[in-house]
Symmetry: C2
Subunit: 263 residues, 2 copies
């Protein structure tokens, strides 16, 4: 998060006079740099929806249809797609296959990204067996655990390696993404070993804030945090409801006590 501002200096989001001459050259890099993080997440969703459409035999789709299927509004969808270039036909819509291939290119899915899962507990088992990874170009090629009883046992077709082998195995199998599914206390140590093994991307399921060098990208999935965000919305909604009720029922400005908020 620090080196990011190395080369670019003041990123110009509007690429004014870069009309059309270079369809796929250095400009792609420049543009990729300017795609908002939020848009990238949505592009992945569009890709999934579009893949389903290809299977369904759909060849062309309008921004209105696609945005409805992806759960966003059409303006946002078009803006997101404009970040990766102009591949639609006005008056018609987008060619589904063309769009798929361009999104895949931008997301870097033309390369295979081999995945290693560390921590073969309940969650690790589930991840190793999860069909969603390989089918989307993320083959799981290595599993690690500290438990000697697990090493050698195949899970989802892949034998579990001992965590001490992490460096050599990751290197030989060209792992580019590490998934941490260990108990919280082990997470930082595992993370350090993954980094020293040359892994540049980490998906962290452990409820711990990982410290990593600038060149490593971390994304976290914290189930408890997700729950708590939902909890917040429940509470907020309950407050609003009771407030509305209070506004109708009692006119004095002091009231509304003991129903929702417990100090």
């Amino acid at each position: 998060m620090a080196v990011k501002r190395g080369a670019g200096d003041e990123v110009v989001t509007t690429t004014p006079a870069t009309a059309a001459p270079d369809l796929d050259g250095p400009a792609v890099r420049e543009r990729a740099r300017a795609i908002p993080e939020a848009a990238v997440a949505r592009l992945a969703v569009y890709l999934r929806v579009l893949s389903g459409m290809v299977d369904g035999g759909v060849t062309t789709i309008s921004s209105e249809e696609l945005s409805a299927a992806a759960g966003v509004n059409s303006a946002k969808l078009r803006k997101d797609l404009s970040y990766i270039g102009s591949y639609g036909t006005r008056g018609v819509g987008y060619d589904v296959e063309v769009l798929v291939s361009h999104i895949e290119r931008i997301l870097g899915l033309t390369r295979k990204h081999s995945v290693a899962v560390v921590g073969i507990g309940n969650l690790g088992h589930a991840l190793a067996n999860y069909g969603g990874f390989p089918s989307r170009g993320f083959p799981v090629v290595a599993l690690f655990d500290v438990d000697d009883d697990l090493t050698g046992v195949p899970v989802g077709g892949i034998p579990v390696s001992h965590i001490d082998e992490i460096e050599q195995v990751c290197a030989s199998r060209e792992v580019s993404i590490g998934v941490i599914a260990t108990p919280p206390p082990a997470a930082q140590a595992v993370c350090d070993r993954l980094v020293s093994a040359g892994v540049q991307c980490i998906l962290n399921f452990a409820p711990v804030v990982l410290q990593v060098p600038d060149h490593v990208e971390v994304r976290k999935v914290d189930l408890a945090v997700e729950m708590q965000i939902l909890s917040f919305h429940v509470a907020r909604r309950a407050d609003e409801a009771s407030a509305e009720q209070a506004a109708n029922g009692m006119v004095n400005g002091v009231g509304v006590e003991g129903v929702v908020i417990r100090p």
Copy 2:
């Protein structure tokens, strides 16, 4: 996402002259409404870090220390905390326990939120056995699946119910959060049944965009999307690296072909 703008009309984030008289009244509700979504997610992280500090015997902490432990900068942390009120002491810092209780209150954790998991496959198993939920106030009280071979079998201490019982079981056990861990094709139907059972919050692990009424809050965890975001950053970084290399090695403006980008 639509009804939100119902009552408030122009939310005033700055609560200027609401000095101190009402420490815990209707103002809390007003304020809760104004907390940015992103801040809520971070508050959950702060809470986790602070809980660890309580266990470690820490009684007071400065914004600088806490922000470092939570992986954010101190200004953001202080602003986040200011959304929930002024509970720090200038020149000293924050009382850890006070902060914990206030964050818990804002996040609605003074109520227990019972959880139901639907779809007892690999992931469902992992979630049912996951210790992180109960310990943070989210007891798993019900499990559902369509498979008759599973119904009755206890997983993580809770017997699996058939999905047809979802309405009555959810009602009797007062489920407030539903977790969808089914295969994609089943997700929307399950979601509809959860909603009709009165569940207001849904955590969705299926790679599907769920359609729900306005009053239901959905959060999604899509592992493939997370992977693809990581993939995007790998690609971007590779592009930057090769571009830098190209800038050093070749001076003509056309070059850099065939190394990274495959059109």
